[in-house]
Amino acid sequence: MNKKANELLTEQIIFYALNIIFIMLLLFFVWRAGTGAATAEESYAKRIGIAIDSIKPGTELVMDVSELYVYLEKNKMKSSPITVDYSKNVINIKVSSGTGYDFRYFTNLSSGSITINEKTKFLVIKS
C-alpha cells in the first residue's frame, strides 16, 4: 500500500513537473520572439525614420540606440547597426545576419546628417 502511494506521488510529481517545464518553454519562446533582433531592427528603423520626418528643419535630435549595440554584441557583429542611403532616402538597421530592415523617409537630408556617437551610443539627426 505504501509502495503504491509512493508510485502515485512520483507520478503526480512527474506530471506537474512536465507541465511546469512545458509552460516555461512556451513563455521562453514568447519572450524570445518579442525580444528578437528582427523586431528590434523593424522597430528602430521605423522609429528613426519617423523621427527624421517629424523634426523641423534646423533641428537636432538625439536618440539613444545603445540597445542595438547589445544585439550586435550578442550576434558577434562588428559593423555599424545603422546605415543611411541619402540618395535613396533609406535607413537600414542591421543587428543580425541577413539584410536588416529598410525604412524610407521622405525628408531631404544632406549627406552626413545622421551620425552615431560611438562612445555614448547616441544617434544624432541634424535636419
Binding site: F29, E42, K46, I50, K56, R104
Partner: protein
C-alpha cells in the same frame, strides 16, 4: 465468491489503468493545442508589420501646413503658384512625387470657399483607393489617408482655408 471478488478487483484495476492512459492521451492533445495556439499566435503577431502609414500621413500634412502657412500667414509666393513645395518644405520630390507610395493634395480656398490654388503631387489613384479603403473593414493593402484643414490669413488679412490631403502606402511597397 473469492473468484468473483478477485475478478472484480482485476476489472477495476484495468479500468483505472485504461482511464489513466486515456487521460494522458487527452492531456497530450490539450498540450499540443495550447502549443500550436501560442506559437501560431506569437509568430503571427511578431511577423505582422508595424503600420506607420497613418502616422506618416499626419506628419507630412503637418509639415506642409507649417511650411505653407508659417505663423498663420499663407505665403504670397504659394498663392501666385511661384512656390516649390519640395524645396521650401525640405521634402524629397523623388519619394513623394515619383515613388508611387504617396499622394499630396494642397487646396487653398478664399473666404467664400472658392478654390484659389489646387496642387497635387504623387499617386493620384490614392484619392479613389482611400475612398474604397475607408468603407472596407479589412483594407490592408489600400493606402491610409489623412486630411487636415486650417484657416490662415493672406498678406492682405483675408481669411483663407487650407486643406491638405495626404495618402500613404509606403509600408507595403515592394522594396520592403
Amino acid at each position: 465468491m473469492t473468484l468473483d471478488y478477485s475478478l472484480l478487483k482485476f476489472l477495476n484495476y484495468s479500468r483505472r489503468q485504461a482511464d489513466s492512459k486515456l487521460l494522458s492521451i487527452w492531456w497530450f492533445a490539450v498540450l499540443v493545442i495550447i502549443l500550436v495556439g501560442i506559437v501560431g499566435g506569437t509568430l503571427m503577431f511578431y511577423s505582422s508589420k508595424i503600420d506607420m502609414r497613418s502616422l506618416e500621413g499626419e506628419i507630412l500634412s503637418s509639415r506642409v501646413i507649417d511650411c505653407i502657412a508659417e505663423g498663420g500667414y499663407v505665403s504670397d509666393d504659394y498663392l501666385k503658384n511661384n512656390f516649390d513645395v519640395f524645396k521650401t518644405c525640405g521634402l524629397s520630390e523623388g519619394i513623394i512625387n515619383r515613388s508611387g507610395d504617396y499622394y499630396l493634395n494642397i487646396s487653398v480656398y478664399d473666404s467664400n470657399l472658392n478654390l484659389i490654388v489646387d496642387n497635387d503631387y504623387g499617386n493620384r489613384a490614392f484619392v479613389q483607393e482611400c475612398n474604397i479603403g475607408a468603407v472596407m473593414i479589412e483594407a490592408k493593402n489600400y493606402p491610409k489617408c489623412t486630411q487636415k484643414e486650417i484657416f490662415a490669413l493672406n498678406l492682405k488679412g483675408e481669411t483663407l482655408k487650407i486643406k491638405v490631403f495626404v495618402g500613404s502606402n509606403s509600408e507595403y511597397s515592394s522594396d520592403e
